[in-house]
Symmetry: C2
């Protein structure tokens, strides 16, 4: 695990929006991530919200498109935005397909060659990056929340369900809730994880809940009804049913007219940040 190098730091809503790089052990190469530090970080440790982005996105997507810093500044919440996969891996087939490979890491540790050498976003986001950032930034690691969009919503849900107690708050925008049952997952999981569908269940929020995993708190999900991916790829009712059956608290909000874009996300990001801040209050 190498030291963090600063790419840029810019003043934003009285805090600091930074981009950083380091050489990742988990992902076997350089990784970029973004951090927003609110003004409150000048006075001591602040709670941390992880944001996992979707297919094709980078560490910069949410950072510049979501309008999140305004509310994070007010609430004294730090934001961490990892990339969505390793980059420049040189692996044949890792680029050129927006649904698989670079930009589409699915927040899992690949077990199949050649992906298992570099595509280890689960270990990166759960283990390596937290250890790294807490050395550099004034983070209260006892107060972490996690949020994500689409593939990143899948990441947020599965990481939180698999690591009870790690994240105190959980939310998602238009998440992939049942990848084992939709084309995105059925395309990526065999290549990353092999053909044994038992292994896929650890990376499927709906299956995790059905198999007994629980989140200690209410999960907030926003979903646009005009989202082009709603019917074929997202199917939030699968997760809703699993949560109902399991007694898992969930607030699923359907929004007429909204699509899958950051115009949707920026419309509701304030609600999410307040949801997290409430749970993360000391």
């Amino acid at each position: 695990m190498s030291a963090i190098e600063t790419v840029s730091e810019q003043r934003c809503f009285g805090g600091t929006q930074g981009f950083y790089t380091h050489v990742s052990e988990a992902c076997g190469g350089p990784m970029k991530f973004a951090v927003y530090l609110p003004p409150a970080a000048e006075n001591g440790p602040v709670p941390v919200l992880w944001y996992l982005a979707g297919l094709t996105c980078t560490a910069e997507t949410f950072t510049i498109k979501a309008g999140a810093q305004r509310v994070a500044s007010e609430l004294g919440l730090a934001l961490v935005m990892p990339d969505t996969s390793p980059r420049d891996t040189g692996i044949a087939g890792a680029t050129g397909d927006w649904e698989f490979g670079e930009g589409a890491g699915f927040y899992l540790d690949a077990t199949e060659a050649p992906w298992d050498q570099r595509f280890r976003m689960y270990s990166y986001v759960v283990d390596e990056l937290p250890r790294l950032v807490q050395e550099r930034f004034p983070f209260d690691m006892g107060r972490q929340g996690i949020c994500g969009h689409s593939m990143g919503g899948h990441g947020a849900l599965t990481l939180a369900l698999r690591n009870p107690g790690r994240y105190r708050s959980l939310s998602a925008f238009a998440p992939i809730v049942a990848p084992t049952n939709v084309p995105w997952g059925q395309k990526a999981f065999p290549r990353y994880l092999g053909d044994d569908k038992k292994a896929w269940r650890k990376h499927d929020a709906t299956a995790l809940v059905a198999d007994g995993a629980r989140f200690n708190g209410s999960i907030l999900i926003d979903q646009g009804e005009a989202d082009n991916f709603l019917v074929n790829q997202l199917q939030p009712q699968r997760f809703e049913t699993a949560c109902e059956d399991a007694g898992q608290a969930l607030e699923l909000r359907m929004h007429p007219g909204y699509d899958h874009s950051y115009y949707f996300i920026q419309s509701f990001i304030e609600d999410h940040l307040r949801h997290h801040a409430k749970a993360l209050a000391a």
Copy 2:
């Protein structure tokens, strides 16, 4: 003047974020622009804020990076974001230089060949686009304001100063206030306007004020002190001095630590929108 074609329309903060194209007479080819319609537009005409973007930007830059729709939705303010120049002009030398040509129209009507055929952003923004959008959207054209960033701040200031009564409110982020005296203007103006510096003065906010132009109201300008272009290209004190000498009301706010980016703009956009809404109130 051709009809408007809709590229996309997306729900955002209860309103509609749209991108549109049409074939421009002024610019001799297709042009793209963005409009945000707040929810209040469903109930009747709304005031309109024009936003002019800077070098290298497009109609999408402010639209996705500024976080403006939240406040525009609340205030019932429509936003119009034109492109910064004609595109795909095919003119030799029109691409490949971020400070001149495509992406760098400087909101003037070029008088020098070959630029005079296509680079007519002044007529486009002042005459053609307003006529076009008022036919399509529920705009109250008696209540228009104008704002811009950098080269677009230059555009906002010069268009408002040259068209008294047209815009009821005026603000800028890090504007080029004295292009005739800084490298950006000294590079672009000879090619667009020729070597007669008298012609340049109509496109220089500081010169316009010195020559007697006035804005009926207080001009709001925000400028970051960590802006890399502050000393060589922006020099807001030139405009401040001209306004003081002329009795032109101006609020110039200097912000320690902020740079030239949209992280700066999003930090203060709410103040600007409220400044405009106040002046545009019925």
